[in-house]
Symmetry: D2
Amino acid sequence: MPPAFHEIARRVNNWGRWGADDELGTLNLITDGVARAAAATVRTGRRVPLALPLRHDGVQTGLIPGRVNPLHTMTQVNRRLGPGPVATSDDTVVMGLQAATHWDALPHVSHSGLLYNGRPADTVTAHRGARFAGIDKVPHLLTRGVLLDVARARGVDRLPGGHAVTPEDLDRAEEFGRVAVRAGDVALVRTGHMAVYLAGDRDAYAHPSPGLSYRTPEWFHARDVAAVANDTLTFEVFPPEIEGLWLPVHALHLVEMGMLQGQNWNLEELSTACGEESRYSFLLAATPEPVTGATGAPVAPVAVL
Amino acid sequence: MPPAFHEIARRVNNWGRWGADDELGTLNLITDGVARAAAATVRTGRRVPLALPLRHDGVQTGLIPGRVNPLHTMTQVNRRLGPGPVATSDDTVVMGLQAATHWDALPHVSHSGLLYNGRPADTVTAHRGARFAGIDKVPHLLTRGVLLDVARARGVDRLPGGHAVTPEDLDRAEEFGRVAVRAGDVALVRTGHMAVYLAGDRDAYAHPSPGLSYRTPEWFHARDVAAVANDTLTFEVFPPEIEGLWLPVHALHLVEMGMLQGQNWNLEELSTACGEESRYSFLLAATPEPVTGATGAPVAPVAVL
Amino acid sequence: MPPAFHEIARRVNNWGRWGADDELGTLNLITDGVARAAAATVRTGRRVPLALPLRHDGVQTGLIPGRVNPLHTMTQVNRRLGPGPVATSDDTVVMGLQAATHWDALPHVSHSGLLYNGRPADTVTAHRGARFAGIDKVPHLLTRGVLLDVARARGVDRLPGGHAVTPEDLDRAEEFGRVAVRAGDVALVRTGHMAVYLAGDRDAYAHPSPGLSYRTPEWFHARDVAAVANDTLTFEVFPPEIEGLWLPVHALHLVEMGMLQGQNWNLEELSTACGEESRYSFLLAATPEPVTGATGAPVAPVAVL
Amino acid sequence: MPPAFHEIARRVNNWGRWGADDELGTLNLITDGVARAAAATVRTGRRVPLALPLRHDGVQTGLIPGRVNPLHTMTQVNRRLGPGPVATSDDTVVMGLQAATHWDALPHVSHSGLLYNGRPADTVTAHRGARFAGIDKVPHLLTRGVLLDVARARGVDRLPGGHAVTPEDLDRAEEFGRVAVRAGDVALVRTGHMAVYLAGDRDAYAHPSPGLSYRTPEWFHARDVAAVANDTLTFEVFPPEIEGLWLPVHALHLVEMGMLQGQNWNLEELSTACGEESRYSFLLAATPEPVTGATGAPVAPVAVL
């Protein structure tokens, strides 16, 4: 672990900030007032969905064994359960909880044996999943969203694989959108990389990938952002920036700050809509599915402009 | 099929209303203007979650074979994927799509071999699921919600098993909440029956159950409601009202009207909140998970007062 | 459907041979006497396993959507259920029933709307699976096995992709093994193609593939073979021999003859063992997992020489 | 842990007996000679299946969360994949590996942090399952089986719930069957308790249950049995015999002796057949499904008399 990491970790650390037993982290920043103000952001009522469809040919390539693309199977097809002409169809799904558009829960990663708020990593078990700060502890997630369209702000459709999004990129995106990120916002960082998957190349979508630099958590911390999501599989830049250290951004966001991360969000239509409306802030409804003990969960986010 | 059913079916039928190829049905009623007005409904920013947790001891009792309660399993627990001290946990879920708090998609039921808009029922197949009007065709679902607290309006905590909620009950609930249901709203009909499950009795929750009478679809149709959800497993009253005809309300809503139905919504906390705030309308964010070809899908709805 | 197919179909047809209600087909040929004689075949007691391991990086490539490679997840890891120092681990699997080493059940294919014994194909439903002749109707499968080592008989390690195994190939393999296939035997036809998968190339294993020619069912029929298995994904040669007709061998074996087929059997070690022992017949224990209503099932076959 | 347990553990311990790296334990006792002699046991060729069907209403009651009954779903029903009239059906299963008729693998339990052969329990992980001695390390399981019909030997159809099968019971069953258990045999201990499940009462089948006493492992050890299976969910008597110590038989068999255990074997038809044939030994083919890393696996055992 390089000294730089420890320095940053110390500066962005939120342990104890909302009490020793807190399991929500920066979601505490979404107060009733923030939610109320977020609703007041709506101008046109135009709604933009941000989720990928849940289907067998999703973004997973098989590299992460258990993170299987959704398998949808029918258990009934037009079957009459009782008397009369009414028949029902019914179905099931098997899926990796982080297979598609999802939120990472805080215990998705640990570092040095610890989770957010200093809890031991072994509170995650095979039997019960995450007893502490699992995604089921998030009752709702609705606040103002801000699109930081880093790609467009740099004048490109998408950032190349391996591009590390820097604090300077985020500044430029704020300027581009004439919007200032504030406390309780969810920041949506668009790299444009989703276009690679949408064009059919899952392997190239997986890696190399643009993504957040380990220097960005301080930027989010300074603004007291409630959560961050982007349009990549790896969230942070891949291959990693620092030799010998994988997933520093995960560790800073989830463990040190106690801040949810979203991955595989489809921000393409939103980029178009924000451009057309000349507005980069909106109401964001993005409550995860409350899977008990889960370290992540699917979400079907919607932006309302 | 009793003549009464056919009479009602004829009166509430929406086939062709939004075009011969329409797959959204009454969700078309949620225009940008409706969504904008819904956001403007927010007063305090108080948010109330309406989803049951997704867990192995959910509401399913095994009576419906494939509709299995969620099985959550860990595929990684604090595993180091690369160099450095950061470890990750990862997990999967297997579940019936309609096992917990969910929306029925329009093709969840057919009657007399037809789906909404007159499409053949055999567009649902084991291989691809629902090609027409599957839940993945619903990009977003965010509008004004109205709580019709039928139980409280009748002065009870919960309606008894077998109680058929009538149009008169709905009138009374509007009056009780001093609210008028209007076009594009989602009506949340509270029977209070969820308390039976929350108290631990799954079998009694399953049946007998209070639920909607086959006479209520006309009530919703007259007001151009966008969707209806309630706090029961069966949605409509069970045992059925009409001998020899199962699921008439499903057939009227999903097939004739093209209107989504929600089941197993937990309206207990919302009932309290609406009482405390003396307001029975709110912003409702309730976008289903977009499972391709699914005839229903989990949703984590949130009301914002 | 070319006339040749219909001619062959007529000649190999077994409908009604074991009664109009028979669900076992050629497995009827494995009488107590055949099983007894099979046991008497054993000389050395050397046992050779023929199953591929059930694992996430199995032979499936994703081309057949629902036929997912096995996903193994732990539900408990060293968890103490009760008092004392004893802890238990427990696990689950999700898998396509035909994902790895398996038997096709008779209703795995239909042609012209019919299954074996002339039953309607629609006895297979999404809700109940195969009501007629599902794999659960096979109580045991233990008989004499004969290795027809077509590759070695042709003096090669493996047949090239696209090679159609002919009746002449089978004759030559009998001669090579100095063995005569007889009534009630299970014939194991080795192409050597499994080596392609074992060397790590799943795509090349999938296709092009060597496999049985549509002319071989008559060969098996003439000898009253009980079942046939081989070491390929497609069983029959792929791409198909006859333009405009997929899966003719499946149709002849499963539908016309009522004969089980085995795929993805690993015959590499058996080839070596039979060569070393100079014996190509053995006791074969190959009872499928009795999944109710399944159109195929995993099997862990063992040859005892 | 009572002193008696430690005494017994010391006496039956097989660690190091087949080398420090051995992962097979008492299965080493099934030599080629034993397998050959087992085949020679066959007299009539009568085959008796011992597996329960794999179906949604199997023996699991939901008490053990992840050990779900098999969920069978169709992914294709009579679907034409290519040109021509041939259509295919395909399906999947989700199941607890120990949900039905199964073998416990050696790492299914640990005690005091250790597995068989003194390996650390933490070689079982959520990510990879059992790296040491998982069920995939068992290439075949075919040997002589002996039915110890304890119920019939005591003159009853079935033993009552809570009855601990003792060494004296096993002696009596040997005498009843005029058979002597010898090295490399698999002992099938019939309590008759399966009849409770077959009659439809899953809860009574679960507990109280008859089963093996903690005094029986020495009996099996003295005879060098290769494995033991019975017709109960819990295998050992439940409620437990020793206060404060759950699963002592599991710990002695799996950890100390390195001996596989089988549960939920249906021995009803076998009891009848052995009675009719007046023979209590037979060829037993019982190779588990080779799920990589699994701590148990389904098996479809067959006895050949």
